[in-house]
C-alpha cells in the first residue's frame, strides 16, 4: 500500500514523536546524496529523489517498529549513522524513502579491559570510542581516515578498514558480537565469544551488508594494548612501482606484520611527499608498532628486507612520522576541500580494488594507462597500496579531473562512472575484486554479478530471504 509523504511522516511521528522526525526540506535534499554525489551539495544542484523524512531512532525497539512500518507499506529504508559513505550507499535512489538515522544511539555501553572488548551503540563516533579506550592504555586498532566523523554502525555495515589493518585486520577481524534488526522488526543478537564452529559464521551476513539486509544497532569490538611510544617509522624512495609491490610482498611473505605498509606511485606521492621526494619518485613507507620487542624486530626485519632492494633509498623517518600525525579528516579539512572544489571545479575521486601479488601491478598499469588515454580532463592519475596480506594487496586509485563543459550533476556520468568502469574491467579480467573496502554502494552495484560469478547465488538468496519486500536500501549492492 503506497503511502503519501505526509502519511509516511505521520506514521513515523507516531513511533518516535514529532521532534525526532526531520522534514526540513533543505536537510532532506542534502541527505539525498552521500560523498558519491557530493558535488551536488557543494554546488547546490539536486537531482536525486528527495526522502520523505529522516527519522532519528533512539532505541532498538524504535528501529524495529520503524522497519515494521516500512515493511507494511513497502517504503524504502536507508540506514545511516555517521554519513561518511563514498559509494552512493546512502543515496535515496527511489522517491519517498525513509532515512533511519542511528546517530542519536551514541552510548558506549561497556568497556571491558579484562576481556578486551568494548560494546557501543551504532551512533558512537569511532573517535569517541578510541579516545575513551586510550585513557586505559588501549586502542581499537581501527583507524580509517574518516575516524573523526564516522560511527560504529556504518563502519561495520561497510566492512571498513583502517590505516593499521596490516597488523590489526579490518573491521571483520575486530567485531566480536553485535545486535541487528531485520525487516519485519526482528531483533537478533549475536553473542560475544572469541570463536565458535557452531555452523557458518553468521556475523558475516551483517558485516558488510551496507544496509541492504538489516540495521545494525549495537556492536562489540576487540581491544588491543596501545604502545605508541614504540612506534617505528621507515620511509624510502624508489623509481619503479613494480618494485614497490615486490617489496611489500617480500615483507608480508617473510612473516612481518607492520601496522602500516604502503607504496605510493609518483602522482599520488606528489600530493603528500613533494618536500622530500622527486616528481618521479615512488614512496614506500612502513610503521611498526606493538610491544617494544615486536616493534623493533618488525622494523629491523623490514629494514633488512628493503636493504636487499638496491633501488630503494632511505629517507629520514621523521618525514614519515610527521606526515602520519596529520592524516585523518577533521571537519576543517573537509570544508577546505569543498571550497577548493567549488572554486576550481577540480574534483578528487578514489576507487580501491584488491588482487593477488601476481596481478596487482598489471591492474595498476593497465587501468592507469587506459584512464589517461580514454578519459578527458584528467589532472592527476595515481594511487597507492595500503593494505597488504600474505596473498596479495589492495590498490587505492587516487585521481583528479576538471569538470569541463557539464554541470556538477553530470560529473558522475561524464567522468567518475567511466573511470570506475575501466578500473573494474581491468581488475575483473585479472581475477581481482572490484571493491576492497569502501563498499559496493550503488556506484559499483552494476558489476555485482561479474564480481561474484556463480557465488552470486549465495548473496542473492540472502537478499530474498531477509528482505523479501525489497525495502532495505534499494540500489545498494543489488542494482535497481
Amino acid at each position: 500500500m503506497h503511502l503519501s509523504r505526509e502519511a509516511i511522516v505521520e506514521g513515523l511521528q507516531r513511533i518516535v514523536g514529532p521532534a525526532d522526525v526531520i522534514t526540513d526540506r533543505r536537510i532532506l535534499v542534502e541527505s539525498s546524496v552521500d560523498n558519491f554525489r557530493k558535488l551536488q551539495n557543494i554546488f547546490d544542484v539536486h537531482t536525486m529523489p528527495v526522502p520523505a523524512a529522516i527519522v532519528m531512532a533512539r532505541s532498538t525497539e524504535q528501529v524495529a517498529a520503524i522497519l515494521r512500518f516500512a515493511g507494511e507499506h513497502t517504503i524504502n529504508v536507508i540506514p545511516r549513522t555517521g554519513g561518511t559513505a563514498t559509494e552512493g550507499g546512502l543515496e535515496s535512489a527511489v522517491p519517498d524513502s525513509i532515512i533511519i538515522d542511528g546517530s542519536a544511539m551514541n552510548r558506549i555501553v561497556d568497556i571491558d579491559a579484562y576481556d578486551m572488548q568494548a560494546t557501543c551503540q551504532c551512533g558512537v563516533p569511532l573517535q569517541a570510542l578510541e579516545d575513551r579506550v586510550r585513557e586505559l592504555g588501549l586502542t581499537t586498532g581501527h583507524s580509517p581516515q574518516s575516524k573523526p566523523v564516522a560511527h560504529m554502525g556504518g563502519l561495520v555495515a561497510t566492512r571498513s578498514i583502517g590505516q593499521f589493518s596490516t597488523l590489526y585486520g579490518g573491521i571483520e577481524d575486530m567485531v566480536v558480537g553485535l545486535e541487528a534488526v531485520f525487516p519485519g522488526g526482528i531483533v537478533t543478537r549475536i553473542k560475544n565469544v572469541p570463536r565458535r564452529a557452531a555452523g557458518p559464521d553468521i556475523r558475516h551476513v551483517v558485516i558488510g551488508n551496507e544496509g541492504a539486509l538489516c540495521f545494525i544497532t549495537e556492536v562489540t569490538v576487540k581491544l588491543f594494548p596501545y604502545f605508541p611510544e614504540n612506534n617505528v617509522f621507515l620511509g624510502y624512495t624508489l623509481k619503479d612501482m613494480k618494485t614497490g609491490f615486490e617489496v611489500l610482498r617480500a615483507v608480508m611473505v617473510n612473516g612481518y606484520k607492520p601496522s602500516v605498509a604502503r607504496v605510493y606511485d609518483p602522482g599520488d606521492a606528489g600530493l603528500h611527499f613533494s618536500h622530500f621526494a622527486a616528481d618521479d619518485d615512488c614512496v614506500l613507507l612502513f610503521m611498526a608498532e606493538g610491544p617494544a620487542g615486536i616493534a623493533k624486530a618488525t622494523a629491523d626485519g623490514i629494514a633488512a628486507i628493503v636493504a636487499g632492494f638496491a633501488e630503494c633509498t632511505r629517507v629520514d623517518s621523521a618525514y614519515i612520522e610527521t606526515w602520519f600525525n596529520d592524516l585523518c579528516w577533521g571537519p576543517d579539512k573537509i570544508t577546505a576541500e569543498d571550497e577548493r572544489i567549488r572554486q576550481t571545479l577540480n574534483v578528487n575521486r578514489t576507487t580501491e580494488i584488491s588482487a593477488d601479488w601476481s596481478s596487482i601491478n598489471d591492474i595498476y598499469q593497465a587501468a592507469r594507462a587506459r584512464i589517461i588515454a580514454e578519459i578527458p580532463d584528467i589532472t592527476m592519475m595515481g594511487g597507492h597500496s595500503s593494505h597488504s596480506y600474505i596473498n596479495g594487496t589492495n590498490m587505492y586509485f587516487n585521481y583528479f579531473f576538471n569538470v569541463v563543459g557539464v554541470g556538477p550533476e553530470e560529473e558522475t556520468a561524464k567522468y567518475y562512472l567511466p573511470i570506475i568502469g575501466i578500473i573494474c574491467e581491468e581488475t575483473l579480467k585479472r581475477g581481482g575484486s572490484i571493491v576492497h573496502h569502501h563498499g559496493m554502494g550503488k556506484a559499483r552495484a552494476p558489476w555485482v554479478r561479474d564480481e561474484y560469478g556463480s557465488s552470486y547465488y549465495i548473496l542473492e538468496t540472502l537478499k530474498h530471504a531477509f528482505d523479501p519486500e525489497g525495502i532495505m536500501n534499494k540500489g545498494t549492492i543489488f542494482p535497481l
Binding site: R26, E30, D131, P331, D332, T335, D338, E339, R342
Partner: protein, 337 residues
C-alpha cells in the same frame, strides 16, 4: 629621543587610529621618548576634530590629498632627514604599513609592522610582534634609525584619552601637485608627472566590520555551522540575542557569509565583553581576533578543539542547536524585563 606619530585623518578610521596610538604611547612603548603627532587632513572641516584626537600635545598639521600615502611619505622623509626623529609610529592598517615601509626605505631605517610592544634603547629598538600566524610572539631589534613602526591592532581597543590640550607646531599644505614644500623631486611612487597613480577611485561599501571591531557582544561562527543554512541560523540566533555576528575564514571563503564578517588575522579584531565562538576550533589566526574578549564561551562538540581550553566556559555540543536554544532563553528573558 624623539618620536613622530602619524594620524591619517583623510580616512574614516582616524578615531580608532588615535585610540591605538594613545594606548600604545601610554603602555606599549618603553624608553625615554618625547614626541609629536603629524595630523593629515584633506577637509578643512575636520581640522579641529582631528587635532583634538591627537595623542600628543604637539601637533603638526599637514593638508594632503585623500588616498595619497606617498605624499605623507615625502613629508615624513623630509622630517626624517632632519635627523632628530628616532621613531615614526603609525596605527595598524594598509596605509600605515605603506607609509612606514616606504619611509624606512628612503630614510635608510628599519621597519617593523604590528608591534605589540617596543622598547627604545640607545642603539636599537627592541620590538615584540606576533609571528607564525599568531602561534608565537617574535622578538626583533631594529638597528638602523629611523625606526618605522606600526602598532598592532590589539591596541585599537584601549580606552586611553587623547591629550587634553594641543599645540600646533606647524602647518603645511602638501595637497597641490607642483612645488610642494618638503617634497622630493623623486618621481618614485607618483609616476613621472607626479600625478596620482590611481584614477577613478571609488569607495564602496564602508564595511560593517567597523561595527564588529567595536562589538560588545559577539557571536563567531565557524565551519561547525556545516552549511550556509547553519551559518544563517547562527546569525539569526545572534541577532535575536542582540549580538553582532562574525565568522571564521572557512565560513567566509565558502561564501556562507560575506567577507566583511571575517574575524581574525585576515579580518577584524574585537574585544567584546562577551564572545561566543560557535563551531570553530579556535585556531590562533581566528583566536587573535577575539582573544581580548572579557568572557569567551566555546560551543564545539570536540573537547580537544583548542578553543575549549582557551575559553572560560565550553559547551560540548552542536553549534546551531545550542545557539538557537540560547537565543530563545535570552530573547525570552529580555521580553520579561
Amino acid at each position: 629621543m624623539r618620536f613622530a606619530a602619524l594620524l591619517d585623518g583623510t580616512v574614516a578610521t582616524a578615531a580608532v587610529q588615535a585610540q591605538a596610538l594613545a594606548g600604545f604611547l601610554g603602555d606599549g612603548l618603553r624608553g625615554d621618548l618625547a614626541g609629536e603627532t603629524f595630523v593629515l587632513y584633506c577637509d578643512e572641516r575636520d581640522r579641529e576634530r582631528l587635532v583634538d584626537l591627537a595623542p600628543t600635545r604637539d601637533v603638526r598639521l599637514v593638508k594632503t590629498a585623500a588616498r595619497r600615502p606617498e605624499r605623507m611619505v615625502d613629508c615624513l622623509t623630509a622630517a626624517a632627514r632632519g635627523g632628530d626623529t628616532a621613531l615614526f609610529l603609525a596605527a595598524a592598517g594598509a596605509t600605515g604599513t605603506e607609509i612606514v615601509t616606504r619611509l624606512a626605505c628612503r630614510a635608510g631605517g628599519g621597519v617593523l609592522t604590528d608591534a605589540l610592544t617596543i622598547e627604545a634603547r640607545p642603539q636599537r629598538l627592541v620590538c615584540r610582534k606576533n609571528v607564525y600566524s599568531n602561534h608565537l610572539v617574535g622578538r626583533f631589534e631594529l638597528r638602523a634609525r629611523p625606526w618605522c613602526v606600526t602598532v598592532d591592532a590589539c591596541w585599537n581597543d584601549t580606552r586611553r584619552s587623547p591629550s587634553p590640550s594641543h599645540t600646533i607646531l606647524s602647518e603645511s599644505d602638501e595637497s597641490g601637485d607642483a612645488g610642494r614644500p618638503g617634497a622630493t623631486t623623486d618621481t618614485r611612487a607618483t609616476g613621472a608627472t607626479g600625478a596620482a597613480p590611481f584614477a577613478d577611485a571609488e569607495l564602496l561599501e564602508a564595511p560593517s566590520s567597523g561595527d564588529l571591531a567595536k562589538s560588545r557582544f559577539l557571536v563567531v561562527a565557524g565551519y561547525g555551522a556545516a552549511s550556509r543554512e547553519g551559518t544563517e541560523r547562527i546569525a539569526d540566533a545572534a541577532r535575536r540575542m542582540g549580538a553582532d555576528f562574525g565568522v571564521s575564514r572557512p565560513v567566509a571563503m565558502n561564501a556562507w557569509a560575506p567577507m566583511d564578517r571575517l574575524m581574525g588575522v585576515s579580518g577584524t579584531r574585537a574585544a567584546p565583553a562577551l564572545c561566543i565562538v560557535a563551531g570553530a576550533s579556535g585556531a590562533p589566526a581566528l583566536y587573535w581576533g577575539i582573544e581580548k574578549a572579557g568572557l569567551i564561551v566555546a560551543v564545539n562538540p570536540d573537547e580537544r578543539a583548542p578553543i575549549v581550553a582557551n575559553s572560560d566556559a565550553a559547551l560540548l555540543d552542536d553549534a546551531v542547536a545550542v545557539l538557537e536554544e540560547l537565543a530563545e532563553i535570552v530573547a525570552g528573558r529580555r521580553t520579561h524585563e
